[in-house]
């Protein structure tokens, strides 16, 4: 009843194929954007920004990229951390070596570096798929680990192996405070999400999904698997690379190669699985879940134990985190393999027919 689409007729293809064809959706998104851009800066504390909001925004972008490759095109990738690393170090090299390099082009160039890397390590997808492809992408991950650890050129020969950036500004405005960082990342996220959504509902998105669903049939109707798969790798790694550069520049400030280890790759994959594969919104939901969960557990578990009279140490919490993490992944895969996005869609359906059960 709340979500009734009755009466919302579309008389042109444009109206039918817009991103939010249902009016209630449009209101919801408008409210959400208002909250995100205007409301949050007023309500959120510094801690919320640095611990939750900024990581969420950047990870959401990365998850978006991973979803394009894994969810829409069906190519398993365990090397997302490597793409983030290449984006971060690529951007760093441009930033540090070219004096006066503006920030946004730096980020884009970082993304392009990741694109090249992604296409290169995406070549195996033309020969293999599934598990074998997962192993091939792990090769990218470990190779990148080694590259940024051992090849001193990438880190400008710093003795410690870690690099840092400072004095970031956009169009003359400095990006120092948590608020400015948040707004900058959020704006970039919105732009990237819009472009990604356009791609995904256009011809190339259909090609990706065709390859995912049945690549033999796709070839027969004239889709070139090579172009489709490599373009998925290219677009995906561009977005992930940019997110990596943002993560390094804005969230971390100074970093080492271990910031982009295989754990990060798994985290991103889990975001996509839990959030929902093949859905732009899924990336957002999954990122929110994975970013908030450890913090939630950190706060909540000691309290929970205290109810029973136990005092638990941080090591116990971190072990519990691993267990809960793993259990949740399995639970999601069993109960709702299409993730939170599907649960969201089911929720909307319930709202549509309320007060009837179906």
């Amino acid at each position: 009843m709340f979500y009734r689409e009755n009466g919302q007729f579309k008389t042109s293809y444009q109206a039918d194929q817009q991103i939010f064809p249902i009016m209630q959706d449009r209101w919801f998104i408008a409210a959400l954007l208002l909250l995100a851009f205007v409301g949050v800066p007023f309500i959120a504390s510094d801690y919320m920004f640095s611990a939750i909001l900024i990581p969420f925004v950047i990870m959401a972008m990365a998850a978006l990229g991973v979803n394009i490759l894994v969810g829409y095109c069906g190519q398993i990738s365990l090397g997302s951390g490597a793409f983030m690393a290449v984006g971060a170090y690529g951007a760093y090299n441009f930033f540090a070596r070219i004096p006066g390099m503006p920030l946004i082009p730096t980020l884009i160039l970082g993304g392009l570096c990741a694109t090249v890397f992604g296409i290169l390590f995406g070549l195996p997808s033309l020969r293999v798929r599934g598990l074998y492809l997962a192993v091939a992408t792990l090769a990218a991950q470990f190779f990148a680990d080694w590259m940024f650890l051992r090849i001193k050129w990438f880190t400008l020969d710093t003795p410690s192996g870690s690099v840092s950036v400072s004095n970031l500004q956009v169009f003359g405005m400095p990006i120092e405070s948590d608020l400015s960082k948040y707004l900058f990342c959020l704006s970039l996220l919105c732009v990237v999400a819009l472009l990604a959504k356009n791609l995904v509902r256009g011809a190339i998105g259909r090609e990706w999904m065709a390859i995912r669903d049945m690549d033999v049939a796709a070839a027969v109707i004239g889709i070139r698997p090579m172009y489709a798969k490599l373009s998925a790798f290219a677009v995906s790694s561009f977005i992930i690379g940019m997110a990596g550069a943002l993560w390094a520049f804005i969230y971390l400030g100074s970093w080492e190669p271990s910031a982009f280890s295989v754990d990060q790759s798994f985290r991103l994959l889990f975001m996509v699985i839990i959030g929902g594969m093949g859905s732009i919104m899924g990336g957002f939901l999954g990122a929110a879940f994975i970013v908030v969960l450890p913090i939630f557990l950190n706060q909540f578990l000691p309290v929970f134990a205290a109810w029973f009279g136990f005092v638990i140490s941080t090591t116990v919490v971190s072990h519990a985190e691993l267990m809960i993490f793993g259990a949740l992944i399995v639970w999601f895969l069993i109960v709702e393999p299409h993730g939170l996005a599907r649960l969201w869609a089911i929720g909307k359906q319930k709202m549509r027919v309320w007060p009837f059960p179906y």
Binding site: G130, Y132, K152, L322, M323, V330
Partner: protein, 308 residues
């Protein structure tokens, strides 16, 4: 020349250990089509169990090394059987008809769970496993090569144990009726079910066997390196082995492991200095990657034909 042989032998031994872990992968994949990413976590879990059990047994006064180890091994094996049963019941049974990628990701989840559980139950310090392996290296072939070749006795014995295990498993698969049933299930789940082979029981058996293999691997690795959290990452090192050897082949796992072990050591020693060192972390993977491009099914695996 002597140094080269030393490196070669060292690589072969290390390769044997990789093969042990890879064996677990191949077993489970052969019998259920599931790629068990959690094999490494199982190795860690098993090793932790055995380490702590032998510690407790020692502390409770049981003196004899062999007895302690035997009991600890049996207890740890029992634990692994429980783990296998629980995994089959709670996870595999619910995901029977799902596609490979879903199952793969489920095993990723199991990995995290086992890692957390293992450390919660058994602790997260570094533990020792002492199975009486001689720790001093010996010099061999002193007559042929000046100074002789350094052979690590521990590695040698480990390789022997691994070889015995492989022989046992091969016998099991080829000669027993359970082994035959496992091979049938690996070929075609539905066909095997239709002739009355109990799928769920088979899967529990397979995961138990893989658990024991993980235990042996954990025992050997743990004795060599000490049992610690990083043992879980050993699974990641063994993945290229199954790719190289072919996911469905036991001899492939062995030969693949040896190739990777030798390749890693040789490349580190001879190529490493030119490119900054530390190439061990990606050599195996890039080798597997290149292999994938040329021969996707691995050395001994079966080719997959798509029917439309």
């Amino acid at each position: 020349m002597g140094f080269f042989l030393e490196t070669l032998l060292g690589g072969l031994m290390a390769g044997m250990l990789y093969s042990l872990v890879a064996l677990g992968f191949v077993l489970i994949f052969k019998a259920s089509g599931v790629f068990n990413f959690a094999q490494g976590a199982m190795v860690l879990f098993a090793a932790l169990a055995m380490a702590r059990f032998s510690e407790w047994l020692n502390a409770s006064g049981l003196g004899n090394l062999w007895l302690v180890n035997l009991i600890a091994f049996a207890m740890a094996a029992g634990v692994m059987f429980c783990v296998a049963w629980v995994i089959e019941r709670l996870v595999l049974r619910q995901l029977v008809n799902q596609e490979g990628t879903t199952l793969l990701m489920a095993t990723l989840g199991i990995t995290y769970f086992l890692e957390g559980l293992g450390q919660s139950l058994f602790g997260s310090d570094i533990y020792k496993i002492d199975i009486g392996m001689p720790k001093e290296p010996v010099m061999a072939f002193e007559s042929t090569f000046p100074g002789g070749i350094l052979i690590n006795q521990e590695d040698l014995i480990a390789a022997l144990i691994a070889a015995c295990l492989v022989a046992l498993l091969s016998l099991f698969f080829q000669k027993t009726s359970t082994g035959r049933a496992l091979r049938a299930v690996a070929d075609d789940h539905q066909a095997a079910q239709s002739i009355g082979i109990p799928l769920n029981r088979i899967w529990v058996i397979v995961w138990c066997v893989a658990g024991v293999v993980a235990l042996v691997a954990g025992m050997i690795w743990g004795s060599k390196l000490g049992v610690q959290f990083s043992l879980a990452t050993v699974a990641l090192r063994a993945l290229p082995v199954v790719i190289l050897g072919g996911l469905t082949s036991v001899p492939g796992a062995i030969i693949g492991g040896l190739i990777i072990g030798v390749g890693e050591k040789l490349s580190e020693v001879y190529l490493g200095p030119y490119v900054g060192g530390g190439i061990e972390i990606w050599f195996a993977y890039v080798l597997a990657l290149l292999f994938l491009l040329v021969r996707p099914q691995g050395l001994f695996g079966e080719k997959i034909i798509d029917r439309v």
